[in-house]
Symmetry: C2
Subunit: 422 residues, 2 copies
């Protein structure tokens, strides 16, 4: 979803830890390097918006977000995403310059301060301590910290390179009935964290069927949706559900991966009842809409039309990096298995016979780091898995990281075998 | 704390409601008019920060907030507040250009996305559904919405023009022991919402004694602290507690009332254990620090030294408005009783024999609005009270509003008396 190990990554934290980390290529860093962040675009949009003599962006904002911003966002999402009706179809316009699908989408959007804030608020509004959240095994680890804050129990559902198994989900929903309440199902369906896997198209439909049949809320964390390396981004699951007239789906979106995480700006796409619940939360009633100042600057940027080309550049750069990293891992580490990412930030590496967590101190000492598989497991499994991000370094550093990691693995293999827990 | 009835106040909401509200002087609006918002200062700070070739403000932020920003904030708070040791005392400097008290304060600060977000997160981290929150009667009404979201029971403690009664608080803490857990005590201690009252100095010490004796967390919402109309701002209660070596106090601060609410930037001042709990929340771990982009712009603004003169101007303007409104209410409405505000945004008006809620539709029709007293009551009381804000209109409009309200009250008095519930 969002930030990965910023604690280890922020320059100040690194310097507090002694400075030696500067020499470590830290593939745990699930955030872009500065070169992928379009400072010039933000500078230009801020200048344009702030030179207008209109202080409204300094006021409290409407709880759903400014109407104009939500429409600009809907246009942008329609342009960037796979649109069922092209935005340029003249018959679908109503005189505002926005197409009808865009206007319908705008009414299903609510502005957030990022996907993490949205997820936290969904927990506040839709869960009680002791409730169960069903997640993929493995799952985004920091979402589990959000769930823990709300006293929720996390139960993992098996998946594979095609995403979560809808039959296993159906079994869990049937088994769990009566015992504890399932508050919602949480997934990262597209180019997911940690595996990079995307939910198969047929499984999407099965998943919507299962959650509709059990009338359970489905929260899909779609922050990597617009980062496919080939072809158009998938439709949001909220849009799929709407088209099929099915289920209670909340799709979480964010500008963190396509513009800049420091802006803390995202959105929820959902049916009216969910938007209503969030809009009428104490947080939004008391504090007003999420980040109206930032939204005004980003709204200007959206209207300038400069973000789609930037996203295309980011996609291309990430694809190059993924290719370089995956190739280097396969070349350098005998026996390495990877799920090659088709988008997003992460390669999910398996090195059979190794224990990722216990190797990490050695790896750090030899100038490479990663996030060990068990951090993402709901059942202390996945010990021979490594989540390695290609978002934070250029290709040559990623290749060097793979080389260093290969050295660490080779040394471990030369030691007496202690039995890897897999 | 934060926003007041933005739903009714935002331009788009007003137009949705039919446009007639433009003619209503809405004293329910507890937010500044655009004229009090320093667009030029924000424009200049944004330009200066964004022309620097440093994209770090677009990255995820450190959970406590950027170190440099927290030190700039500590300097600013020390300058603006009543500082026990002037920041210019040379002996207290350590070579960084910051005084020792400022450095100590910086270590007690954590950056938030505003006081509402901080309060919501304190509920997430420090409460369980069913817990009790003890508040002043009357209390800030939208904080109650935050508490309701977390399943908390709100119990009111009597107060008066000198703030909450510490003896009554002690009684409640003794009575309640064993039955239900008191999660924390919540107050708006300085120029409060809705009454404008400030906690007496002697009561502050008694309050700290009581909460320390019962080892209960005290959350003080100090968003109006820097808006006294005479003299220096009071010290934060967290600072008072620290000086006295007492209690678990969280002071909530915000830029909303002294700079601009749309920025969604604030801070927590507290002991290490509270900062640690917030820093390690799922929200902050996953999303990174609160609004790092905005904090970077505001940090530049703080370093320019332009905010203290702006706050002084806001104070002067609010004092003029308060004087005009209070005088007009006393002049125009026979029998009106007011707690004259010594700072902040609100006059707490009593018109004996009237029912504020039932008069509101008539008042709206005659071009004036306010928030009825019961909205702030924990026990459906205060029916003859009116919260009227002087933050959103210039003096002549406030005088016109008082005139219109007087007409409404006079008409009601001429009708058969139905018995006001007081």
């Amino acid at each position: 979803m969002a930030q990965e190990e910023v604690a280890a990554a922020g320059p100040r934290r690194v310097s507090r830890q002694g400075g030696s980390d500067d020499a470590v290529i830290d593939l745990a860093r699930g955030h872009p390097d500065d070169g992928l962040l379009p400072l010039g675009l933000v500078r230009d949009a801020a200048r344009r918006r702030l030179e207008i003599d209109d202080a409204s962006l300094l006021q409290y904002g409407a709880e759903r977000g400014d109407d104009g911003f939500r429409h600009a966002l809907a246009s942008f999402l329609t342009e960037l995403g796979a649109s069922p009706q092209p935005a340029t179809t003249p018959a679908s316009h109503d005189g505002t310059g926005r197409s009808m699908p865009e206007r319908a989408l705008a009414d299903r959007l609510l502005v957030t301060a990022g996907a993490s804030q949205a997820l936290d608020l969904l927990c506040t509004r839709f869960t009680r301590p002791g409730d169960v959240v069903l997640v993929e095994e493995p799952t985004y680890h920091l979402a589990r910290d959000v769930f823990a804050d709300h006293g929720l129990r996390v139960v993992g559902i098996p998946g594979d390179a095609g995403g979560i198994d809808p039959d296993a989900l159906a079994d869990a929903l049937e088994d769990g009935a009566g015992e504890t309440r399932v508050a919602f199902v949480y997934l990262v369906p597209f180019f997911g964290n940690p595996t990079g896997a995307t939910l198969d198209r047929s499984r999407r439909h099965a998943l919507l069927d299962v959650t509709a049949r059990h009338d359970v809320l489905l929260v899909t964390d779609e922050v990597y949706r617009f980062l496919p390396f080939n072809g158009a981004p998938p439709a949001s699951l909220a849009e799929e559900a709407r088209t099929r007239g099915q289920g209670r789906i909340v799709s979480l979106g964010s500008f963190s991966k396509i513009l800049a995480p420091g802006l803390r700006l995202g959105w929820i796409e959902a049916d009216e009842d969910v938007l209503h619940a969030i809009e009428h939360s104490g947080l939004y009633q008391s504090g007003g809409g999420a980040n109206p100042f930032v939204a005004a600057l980003v709204g200007t940027l959206l209207e300038q039309g400069v973000l789609p080309p930037h996203v295309a550049r980011v996609r291309g750069e990430l694809a190059d990096r993924e290719r370089a990293l995956t190739a280097a891992l396969r070349r350098e580490i005998p026996g390495a298995e990877t799920i090659g990412a088709a988008g997003g930030y992460f390669v999910w590496l398996r090195v059979p016979g190794t224990d990722a967590a216990s190797l990490l101190p050695t790896a750090r000492a030899q100038g490479v780091a990663y996030t060990p598989g068990p951090r993402f497991s709901t059942m202390d499994a996945l010990h021979d898995r490594y989540r390695v991000s290609f978002a934070h370094y250029p290709a040559d550093r990623l290749e060097e990281a793979a080389h260093r990691l290969a050295g660490v693995v080779a040394q471990a293999a030369a030691l007496p075998y202690e039995g890897a827990r897999t």
